[in-house]
């Protein structure tokens, strides 16, 4: 029952992509910016969790919550300092700034602590249980559980709370939302805070699951999470979840078939195929320019 094990591995990886992808898709939905720095917030989250567990002897959940809170604050700072001024700038200027912020975070971290990787301490009991003949670690089930809870929480925030309603209104039409008395600036900040908190959580989960973290670890998962967001239909929250899971499973399958060196290419091939064949993604809507 090798394939079941691979499937679980794929879903675990995919749920991490999905958590990061949610932040991309929410931010893109609201201000049409590919927040390249998002993958680096994920990296910061992993490091905050690492220091919380290794230096301050915290358990998994306190570390997860601290990481989420700090990442939320970092996300809001990034938005207020770098992106806020760019709301009316060209898309190119916004994208370049995002790339700049991403590199600034990466190399500031390297500047202060070096580029060497860090080994994540084990905080969760890791036993294998046998289901249908496949060895599945309790850790991956636990992680999957945490991810699902976070996603349900997000759905609740977006659909049942006032701030969620404001977020949906602003992403639909910022000017109209402003005229309706919604504080657009605060809503955008809240979006960054929620997205960054999820990325921070993904960082801690990634660290616990893969046990190795380093300052450039956010680059590739960040890009792939963006691919997941595009795959699901950028701007769509269920799309980001589905896109992340699909991508995780595909990558695991490519590795399992013995093409592990091509694994990273798989994500980009998917990206290009989806961009060319159905740029609106699985759940996205088509938009056309008004003439």
């Amino acid at each position: 029952m090798e394939w079941l094990q691979q499937l679980v591995n794929g879903i675990s990886l995919g749920s991490i992509y999905a958590l990061i992808a949610l932040g991309y898709t929410m931010v893109y939905g609201i201000i049409k910016l590919i927040n390249f720095a998002h993958g680096d917030v994920f990296m910061l989250g992993a490091f905050i969790g690492f220091y919380a567990i290794a230096r301050w002897d915290m358990g998994f959940f306190p570390a997860l919550i601290i990481s989420m809170v700090v990442c939320a604050i970092i996300g809001v700072i990034i938005e207020r300092v770098a992106y806020k001024r760019l709301r009316n700038a060209t898309r190119i200027a916004a994208l370049i700034t995002a790339i700049g912020v991403s590199l600034l975070i990466e190399y500031t971290v390297i500047f202060f602590r070096g580029a060497s990787p860090e080994a994540y301490p084990g905080v969760l009991p890791n036993k294998s249980i046998s289901i249908l003949g496949a060895n599945i670690s309790t850790q991956s089930i636990f992680i999957l559980g945490v991810t699902i809870v976070l996603m349900i929480l997000l759905q609740f925030i977006v659909h049942k709370t006032k701030i969620g309603k404001a977020m949906r209104a602003v992403s639909h039409d910022a000017d109209a939302a402003r005229l309706m008395g919604i504080n657009v600036d605060n809503t955008i900040s809240a979006t960054f805070a929620i997205g960054s908190a999820l990325a921070g959580a993904a960082g801690v989960i990634f660290g616990v699951y893969y046990t190795k973290i380093d300052p450039l670890m956010g680059v590739l998962p960040g890009l792939k999470a963006f691919v997941a967001a595009v795959l699901g239909g950028i701007g769509s929250i269920p799309g980001a979840m589905v896109g992340g899971l699909v991508l995780g499973v595909v990558e695991t399958v490519v590795s399992a078939l013995g093409y592990s060196l091509w694994r990273d290419a798989a994500a980009f091939v998917i990206l290009i195929l989806i961009l060319i064949l159905k740029p609106s993604g699985i759940f996205g809507k088509n938009a056309r320019e008004k003439v």
Binding site: K32, L86, I92, G100, I110, F111, L261, A265, L271
Partner: protein
């Protein structure tokens, strides 16, 4: 007729620069460190100008230019090291194959716009890199050993040809078509410009010269590795164009010269270099998003007394 006079002026200037440096090299006034810096500068100028035609002129936001640099580098290296072909032929092979790769990438992706195009070109560049990583014939992850063949003469001729071809293209009905696409794609289309055709052509020309730069790059170091051609390299090239001013050829040349000098001196402090780079980029985008030169050329600065910003 005034135009041809200034043309010969530039030729003379190029000749003087070439002669002074070549003379200094043969009289051993310039040691290897500075020679290498000058060749790197030439490579970066070629890269900057070749991306300028895609982003600055045609307005197509490609962030995967290093992919074509890689194609030129690897293909030319195969030509000299495996097939034993002479260096000039290898350069041509590198450039032509890079242009073909540009067509291959450009035809499907260039109907995408803005962010989507950017991310697609980034994806293609990564795929190109991963392909080289997986081909054992070119050394895989360990890379490929290449003889040192690039000289100041090759590099300088490369720069001159790159600038000449791209500025000639720009200052013609074809270049105007590309600029029209940058300004307003729908209006350009309605005025009879085949937008897809010109986007692909500009992309292929840009890829051709990125490949040319790649050939000279490969034969300037002793080894080429897939890791060299990652996203950070694309980003380096992007900075030249953006910092110099989107739409300004001389701006991107100036930025390439300036940043080559800065990064040569900061070569021993790579983190500091990246922090400075990214800070500069963020600050420029926030306070002067048009870059140093805007769409103006350095020659425009000499005719301030006259009206307008015509680039004809």
């Amino acid at each position: 007729m005034k135009k041809s006079k200034s043309f010969w002026g530039y030729c003379l200037l190029a000749l003087v620069i070439y002669a002074v440096v070549q003379l200094s090299i043969s009289m051993q006034l310039l040691d290897l460190y500075y020679q290498n810096m000058l060749i790197t500068m030439c490579i970066n100028i070629m890269l900057a100008v070749s991306l300028h035609i895609v982003i600055g002129i045609t307005g197509q936001f490609s962030i995967g230019h290093a992919g074509f640099l890689a194609v030129g580098a690897y293909l030319s290296a195969v030509a000299t090291m495996k097939l034993g072909l002479p260096f000039p032929i290898a350069i041509l092979i590198g450039a032509v194959v890079a242009a073909l790769a540009g067509l291959l990438v450009g035809i499907p992706t260039l109907r995408l716009k803005g962010d989507y195009l950017a991310i697609a070109t980034l994806g293609f560049a990564e795929i190109i890199r991963i392909v080289f990583l997986n081909v054992d014939y070119v050394g895989g992850a360990a890379g490929m050993v290449v003889n040192h063949m690039s000289t100041w003469t090759y590099a300088f001729i490369g720069v001159v040809i790159t600038i000449l071809v791209i500025s000639n293209f720009t200052n013609s009905r074809h270049g105007r078509g590309c600029i029209a696409i940058r300004e307003d794609e729908i209006a350009a289309d309605a005025m009879g410009i085949n937008t897809t055709y010109y986007k692909v052509i500009a992309f292929a020309i840009g890829s051709f010269f990125a490949g040319l730069a790649g050939a000279i790059y490969a034969h300037n170091f002793y080894i080429i590795q897939p890791t060299t051609f990652g996203f950070l390299k694309s980003f380096d090239i992007l900075i030249y164009v953006v910092l110099g001013g989107l739409g300004s050829l001389s701006g991107s040349v100036l930025a390439a010269i300036l940043l080559t000098v800065v990064s040569t001196y900061l070569a021993n402090f790579p983190e500091t270099r990246m922090i400075i780079y990214s800070l500069v980029l963020i600050i420029v985008m926030l306070y002067r998003p048009t870059g140093l030169m805007g769409t103006k050329e350095i020659t425009d600065l000499f005719k301030i007394g006259k009206k307008g910003g015509s680039k004809a």
